[in-house]
């Protein structure tokens, strides 16, 4: 029986429920405030494989996008991430992240010379590659990667404030993204209706979401393993 858009979105929800970020000790520790400063610093450095390398992902989506209307949307995301002029008071997103790192006592130089763990490098390689093909790229990016952020990041920001006395610009990265990635279900619906017409296309979307979540968990496991040695 053919998969409808609603079927696919329902299955995507099920994938996220089955492996939610909050279910991983790396993220639950951030939300519950159980990590020590050294652990949070380590996570901050490793997580920059996303935030300081974002142009590798959104940029490739822009290149591979076959549709002008979707390109308009992705151009907006790239512009926001590089300049912050739409939603972040003109502070580019890499700068938001460097401000967070600074709040934890990490310098710009340290952030630009991180020795990334294999899981983080694997994620970058996988994600960059997926973003080079539009349907897979949007599936990996919007339906998998960013889907679990809203709600989670604001709680992390609140905890960082409470536990490590971070405030102001040091927390903006978390609050801005809690809003910016708020609801991608519309994007998912549009993507499926416009670009995934056959069962094979829809299976590809589901496969990509599943695979992306798997790769993200490989990265989380790898980072968490190292964090545990920093007791």
């Amino acid at each position: 029986m053919a998969l409808t858009t609603a079927d696919v979105l329902e299955r995507i929800d099920a994938i996220h429920k089955e492996r939610s970020n909050y279910g991983h000790p790396l993220w639950s520790g951030m939300v519950d405030g159980t990590h020590n400063l050294e652990q949070v610093r380590y996570f901050c450095k490793q997580h920059s494989i996303i935030t300081l390398h974002n142009h590798n992902y959104h940029g490739r989506l822009y290149v591979s996008c076959p549709d002008p209307l979707w390109r308009e949307r992705i151009a907006e995301v790239s512009y926001e991430e590089a300049t912050g002029r739409l939603f972040a008071n003109g502070v580019s997103h890499h700068k938001l992240y460097l401000n967070y790192a600074k709040g934890l006592g990490l310098s710009k130089n340290e952030m630009y010379s991180v020795d990334y763990c294999a899981g983080a490098l694997a994620f970058k390689a996988y994600f960059s590659d997926a973003c080079s093909r539009f349907v897979e790229g949007v599936s990996a990016h919007m339906l998998a990667g960013e889907a679990q952020i809203p709600g989670l990041y604001a709680r992390i920001a609140d905890r960082l404030k409470e536990k490590f006395a971070l405030e102001g610009v040091a927390l903006d990265y978390w609050y801005v993204h809690d809003k910016a990635d708020e609801d991608h279900s519309d994007a998912g619906r549009e993507l499926l209706d416009q670009f995934a017409e056959t069962d094979a296309d829809r299976e590809l979307v589901l496969h990509t979401v599943r695979k992306t979540v798997d790769v993200m968990f490989v990265m989380y496991d790898n980072i968490w393993a190292q964090m545990q040695t920093l007791q």
Binding site: H55, R71, A75, Y79, A82, S92, H94
Partner: protein, 232 residues
């Protein structure tokens, strides 16, 4: 004698001056308004290889840019081209180009399904490839070579399109917007060289890329002119 920023920029200016693209029959015909409508239609189809495929070029530059400050600048270009919200009253650049096409009687479907001449296909392959190389090579190719040709002449093309074929301001906006948008890249050239070109080999590479890109653009122009003449 060794190259430095000043000598390299002077040499680039000389290359453009020597090339005199405005004297090539295709550009001269557009600038002076001497081409027939079928020729302009064919030009519109073939030249679409640049504005309708622009994400392949600027997008790759954005991906390969190692520096946040430069990424900010390129993201601006990407945003403008994808949305037109900075300089084109919210009209994306592909839409500006479609309007030009419609003004001369080429439908959107014809533009999308254009049978590109080999020169156009070769240009796209070369240009995409260069924008994917090192950032120094990509920007040299894009901003110091390709975009340096045109500004100052595009308004004249727009005027003749209006006069000869009754195009509206909206339909020539692609030309008027780009006459300003690509206006002055000499400042960018200086910044690029000061930041990314440190050795003689870097300066030589920049000159080689600019020379090659000018050659590729001439190939695109020559082949486009060939099919325009067949369409006449």
């Amino acid at each position: 004698m060794g190259l430095d920023v000043e000598k390299t920029l002077t040499r680039i200016d000389e290359m453009h001056a020597e090339n005199k693209f405005w004297e090539q029959p295709m550009w001269q015909g557009l600038i002076q308004g001497t081409l027939s409508l079928p020729m302009v239609k064919e030009f519109a189809r073939q030249h679409g290889i640049i504005p309708l495929h622009n994400h392949n070029y600027h997008g790759r530059l954005y991906v390969n840019c190692p520096d946040p400050k430069w990424r900010e600048m390129i993201a601006e270009v990407v945003y403008e081209e994808g949305t037109g919200r900075l300089y084109a009253d919210g009209v994306a650049h592909n839409e500006l180009y479609y309007r030009f096409g419609e003004g001369v009687g080429v439908s959107r479907n014809e533009m999308i399904g254009a049978r590109y001449c080999p020169g156009a296909l070769a240009f796209k392959a070369y240009f995409s490839g260069m924008c994917e190389k090192t950032f120094l090579e990509g920007v040299s190719c894009h901003m110091l070579a390709a975009e340096a040709q045109g500004p100052g002449y595009f308004s004249s093309i727009a005027e003749h399109l209006k006069k000869n074929f009754d195009l509206s301001d909206e339909q020539v906006a692609f030309w008027t917007v780009h006459d300003v948008a690509d206006e002055d890249h000499s400042g960018i050239g200086r910044e690029l060289l000061e930041e990314f070109a440190h050795e003689e080999a870097d300066f030589q590479l920049v000159l080689q890329v600019v020379r090659e890109t000018i050659d590729m653009m001439n190939l695109l122009t020559a082949d486009t002119w060939r099919v325009m003449q067949e369409a006449a």
